[in-house]
Symmetry: C2
C-alpha cells in the first residue's frame, strides 16, 4: 500500500507517498509491456491482507468489530449491481461491441450461467471471510523500478469491506486474462499465460507460510486445504464475472476497447463463462492455461 | 416470539407476555409427551425470521446495517468454543459418562471429523446469511394450549446474530434426536422420528412461499434450490455438532443424563458423527430416519 505520511482531518488533507515515478499496470500491459513480478507481489499482498483480517489472524471478538466497522453498503451495492447482476439482464447501463450482439443475447438467456452468477453474488454479499481491497483490477496497481528493485503499490481501496477472499484474486485475474486476450489478438503474447499461476502460487505459499501463526489452532491442516480450494474456486468464478461485465456490462476496459475488432473480447467472454460454470472442476493454473489455449484454437478455426 | 408489552429503559423494566400456562418443550418430551405441532411451527418461525433478514428480504443497505448492529462477539465465542471446538479436544470443560470413554477418545482422534467440524465452525463464524435465534434448542421453546389451539413461543434470544440459517434448524434437530434416543431407550418411541421432516417441510414450504416476495429478483429459482440444499446440509452438520457437544462436551441434556445408562447417548453420538460426515450425501428426512434406524439396529445387536 502507499505510505500515508500524514492525515489532517480538520483540513481534509491526506499526504501520501509520491507515486509519480510509477505507472499503472494496465497502461504498461496495454503498451505491450509485461507484468514483471507484479503477479507474485499481488498474491503475497492478498495472502497477507486476508490472513491478517480473517478468523485465522484475528481473535473472534476483533473479527466481529472489524466486520461491523467495515460494512460498506454504497460501494458494495455498486459491485452487486454492475459486476454481479446487470450484465446478465437487459439493463440501460449495459453496452457492447455490435459484433457481440449474438453472444451478449446468448449469455442473457443462459439459465445455468445466471444461477451460477447468483451463487457468486450471494457469496459476495454473505461470505465475510476477510478484509478485501474490493476493486483489485490492473488499474488499481502501480509498478516501477526504484534503486534497481521492482516496486508495486496497490491503491484506490474505497471498495474495501469484509468479503470472500476470492473476489480480490478473481478481479485481478479477470483483468490479466483480458490483457492476455488483447496480446493474443495483437500477436505479441508474452508470459501473460503464466500470471494467474504466479499469483496463485504466491498467494497459496504465503497463506501456508502464515498458517502456523493462526490465532485459532482448532482449524487444522485438513481444513486449510479445503479452505484454499474454496478460495481458488471463488477466484475463478469472480474472474469470469469480471471478464463478462467488462465486455457486455457498464464499465469497459481500454485493453479490449482500443482493439480494431471484437475478436479478443469474444474470446475473453468465452473464457469468462467457462470459469464461472466450471470453477469446481478446473483444478489448477495449468487447467486455466489449457482452457485459454483450447478456446483460442476454436476462435482461430471459426474466425472472427 | 413472546409479545413485549413494554420496555422502560430508564428503570430496566421489560414487561412480556405471561407464559406461565406454557411448558418448556424439553420438559414435555422428557416426561414422554409429544411435540404436537411444535416442529412445524419452528420450521415456519425459522423460515420467516431468516427470509426477512436475509439478502432476499432486506435491501443490500439494510442488510449491512443489520449485520453491523447484530454482531455478538461474547456469546458467539461461547458457541465457537463449547459447541464447535472443545468437544473434539482435551479440555477441562468436557465430561461424559464413564461408559463412553472409548467413543469420546475415538471422536477426539478422528481427523476427518475434526476437519468437518472446523468447516462447520468457520461457516458459523463467516457465513452471514440471516438473523438467527442462535440457541434454538428444545429448552428455548414453550408450548401449550390456549382456547383449544396449540401455541408455541420461542424465547431466550440472547445468542442472536447474523449467521448460517442451518444453525437454528440444526440445534433444534440435534435436541429432537436426543429426545428420540431417550424415547427409544425407554421403549416409548412415538412420532419422534417424524419431527425432523415436519420441521424441514414447514421451513422449506414457508421459504418457498415467501420467495416471490424477495426484494432482489436477480436470485432466480435455480439459485433458491441450491441455497436450500446448502441450508439443509448445514443443518445436518450443526445437528451433529449439537448432539456431540451435549454428550461429551460442557453442557449436557436432562434428556440423556437422567437415563440409567449411556446406551441412548452412544446411539446419539453415532448419529451425530454420521450427520456431520455425511451431510452432503444424506439428501432427505427419510435418509435421516433410515440412518437412525440402521444405527439403532446395530446397537441392539451389539448391546450396551
Amino acid at each position: 500500500m502507499p505510505i500515508v505520511h500524514g492525515y489532517d482531518e480538520a483540513n481534509y488533507v491526506l499526504v501520501m507517498e509520491d507515486l509519480s515515478d510509477l505507472r499503472v499496470l494496465r497502461t504498461v500491459l496495454n503498451e505491450g509491456g509485461g507484468c514483471g513480478a507484479a503477479s507474485t507481489a499481488i498474491g503475497v499482498f492478498v495472502a497477507r491482507l486476508s490472513f491478517a483480517t480473517s478468523d485465522f489472524g484475528l481473535s473472534s471478538a476483533e473479527r466481529k468489530a472489524l466486520l461491523a466497522e467495515s460494512v460498506n453498503p454504497e460501494l458494495c451495492k455498486i459491485t452487486e449491481d454492475v459486476v454481479l447482476s446487470e450484465p446478465y439482464l437487459d439493463h440501460e447501463h449495459n453496452h457492447w461491441h455490435p459484433d457481440l450482439d449474438d453472444i451478449a443475447a446468448e449469455f442473457r438467456a443462459d439459465a445455468e450461467l445466471r444461477t451460477e452468477v447468483a451463487d457468486l453474488r450471494h457469496r459476495f454479499m454473505s461470505h465475510a471471510q476477510a478484509l478485501l481491497h474490493g476493486d483489485l483490477h490492473t488499474g488499481s496497481v502501480m509498478i516501477g523500478i526504484r534503486e534497481d528493485t521492482e516496486v508495486l503499490r496497490v491503491f484506490d481501496p474505497e471498495f474495501s469491506f469484509v468479503g470472500p477472499i476470492g473476489f480480490d484474486l478473481g478481479l485481478y485475474w479477470g483483468n490479466l486474462i483480458a490483457a492476455e486476450s488483447r496480446a493474443r489478438a495483437r500477436g505479441d503474447l508474452g508470459d501473460h499465460g503464466m500470471q494467474l499461476e504466479s499469483t496463485w502460487t504466491a498467494f497459496e505459499s504465503e497463506f501456508r507460510r502464515l498458517w502456523p501463526r493462526r490465532v485459532d489452532t482448532f482449524f487444522d491442516d485438513g481444513y486449510l486445504d479445503r479452505f484454499l480450494t474454496g478460495v481458488w474456486q471463488d477466484s475463478l468464478g469472480f474472474a469470469g464475472a469480471e471478464l463478462i461485465r467488462r465486455i457486455i456490462g457498464f464499465a469497459h476496459l481500454t485493453d479490449l476497447d482500443t482493439l480494431p475488432d471484437a475478436t479478443a473480447a469474444r474470446h475473453a467472454l468465452r473464457i469468462g463463462r467457462e470459469l464461472i460454470l466450471r470453477r469446481t472442476t478446473l483444478n489448477s493454473p495449468a487447467d486455466i492455461r489449457a482452457l485459454a489455449e483450447r478456446l483460442a484454437a476454436v476462435d482461430a478455426t471459426v474466425g472472427p
